[in-house]
Amino acid sequence: MTRLAAFVSSLCFCSCGFAQSELDARAAAPIDLSGYWVTIITPDWRERMVTPAKGDYLAVPINAAAQKVADAWDPARDEAAGEQCRSYGAPALMATPTRLHITWQDANTLKVETDYGMQTRLLHFGNWKAPAGPATWQGDSTAAWELAGGVAGPRGRDRTPGERSKFGNLTVDTTHIRPGYLRKNGIPYSANARVTEYWDLFNGPNGDQRIMITQQVEDPQYLWRTWITTLNFKKESDGAKWDPTPCSARW
């Protein structure tokens, strides 16, 4: 019975924690996310490409408390308070009109920079512990690789023992985020917001590469239900179009 208990606990440990136990996340990466990427703004264009009208909350599952806060949105007040970056926090940033520059800061830290608002997200692999201190716009992010299971390729053969999967995705969990806006026009998220992301990489039929991010924002204080969206980034050959612009409360 002892061996059976050990076997069951082994199953639990391996299915949940294999990727996290890696010592070198960069070497273990099943996909290469590094490089320059540009967002493609298609759905909800008028809410994402430009500053929407006050009171435009389409597609966001707000509750009445959020509506009350958003209806009082005042960009001049945010500017006066030095809070121009309120719509650039982790729950909002990936949906903005931005380019990404993704690099490895070290073997276990993936750095995601944006030119829109000049923000930096640090995605920490392994047993990273968040430092004490005030919440930040990008919060504390822990990351892990999820390796593909099951069949390894188009012919449907099983992977052989020892064969490393060349497929997988990135998962990111972000908390401890400074309160801000889900959209430029003042839809709020609270200090208790949590963002969960799945990053997938696809090779398009015309040879380009795309990142799809499936993003969940949980915030019981201001959202009626979890807000789940998907985002689309296309790889660029270099940083020629990288255009850093500071945060703005209005544009």
Binding site: Y57, P61, V151
Partner: protein, 333 residues
């Protein structure tokens, strides 16, 4: 069941290099090694089920429908725009169009639930095909997994098209050809019968995410790439085969008039409405590949001023405590 039985009847068949005849230490090491290289342990991703579309994006398109002449963020060419501007919504009342299927492009982005099931070869147990059904107004898309080739370019085109698929890791990659022309967007943009659709379908727990890669050499200058997400509804009992469409004339005033609803070039009276409603330059509203990219904002920065307040299609949250304008009437509900 004792632990030796588990080892013999469950573990050994999965990992034949682990033997009960080996010593306990070697068995433990072998078991750990097996587990470390085979995560997760069990088979191909199962994407079967009824998947509810999540209202969190495509707000207006999946709610009340896109505004007429809103082509923002769509890489159409001049021909695509001209065809879109010839569209009148009363077209749907023509007898021949009342039950016209939407394109598989609309399976990729909702708004209706997606039912997926597979067809199994009864002899080999292998999956021959996956099927996708998304309500009454769309053809079932059958994704052939058995390696069969696409037919000749001159073969019959159907509303559902012809689709093949293959697994790349945990992602099902599908390729659809042989579609009939249909609507690229519900507000009248079209795709041609030369369009192709490539989908990347991946499951994350109870979420199903899809990237749809739509290409059309006739009406698009770049791929139109859309992403969407569904949530598994384990209690749903969605029909695999939808009931037949029942023709209904939604515009009785057109009955027996011989009028074919359309607009001649430059005669669409609604062509500028979307731009006016949202203070956008017409160049943005009329779409193009350029409008998809962040640098397009440089053209907008000095000409765009947000409307004072939202007066149309302002929210779609299902929280009944939120009172706001939910459609084009301007009435708070």
């Amino acid at each position: 069941m004792g632990s030796d039985t588990v080892l013999g009847e469950v573990v050994e068949p999965m990992f034949p290099f682990i033997r009960r005849s080996a010593g306990p230490g070697l068995r433990a090491v072998s078991l750990w090694a097996a587990l470390l290289v085979t995560v997760p342990l069990f088979g191909q991703t199962d994407i079967a089920g009824v998947w509810a579309f999540i209202a969190g994006q495509y707000g207006q398109e999946n709610g009340n429908g896109s505004e007429l002449a809103d082509y923002t963020g769509i890489p159409i060419n001049d021909e695509g725009r001209a065809v879109g501007l010839s569209f009148s919504p009363t077209m749907w009342s023509e007898p021949g169009r009342q039950c016209q299927f939407y394109s598989p492009r609309y399976i990729s982005t909702g708004p209706f639930a997606l039912t997926i099931w597979n067809d199994i070869d009864p002899v080999t147990g292998r999956v021959i095909a996956w099927n996708m059904n998304a309500w009454i107004d769309k053809d079932i898309v059958t994704i052939w997994m058995d390696g069969r080739p696409h037919p000749s370019p001159n073969a019959f085109h159907s509303f559902g098209g012809f689709t093949t698929g293959a697994w790349e890791g945990d992602t099902l990659v599908t390729r659809t050809t042989h579609m009939k022309w249909s609507y690229l967007r519900i507000n009248g943009l079209q795709h041609s019968d030369r369009a192709t659709l490539t989908q990347y379908i991946v499951r994350h727990g109870n979420l199903l995410s899809v990237m749809a890669y739509f290409e059309d050499p006739v009406f698009l200058t770049e791929p139109y790439v859309l992403t969407s997400v569904w949530e598994l509804n384990p209690k749903a009992n969605g029909p695999r085969f939808p009931p037949a469409c029942e023709p209904i004339n939604e515009s009785p005033r057109l009955e027996d008039t011989s009028i074919v609803p359309h607009y001649l070039p430059d005669r669409n009276p609604f062509a500028n409405d979307f731009a006016k409603y949202y203070n956008l330059p017409l160049e943005a509203a009329q779409g193009s590949a350029e409008t998809m990219y962040p640098e397009f904002r440089k053209k907008l920065k000095d000409v765009y001023v947000p409307p004072q307040k939202c007066v149309r299609y302002c929210c779609d949250t299902r929280d009944p405590a939120v009172k706001c304008i939910r459609d084009g009437t301007g009435i708070v509900r």
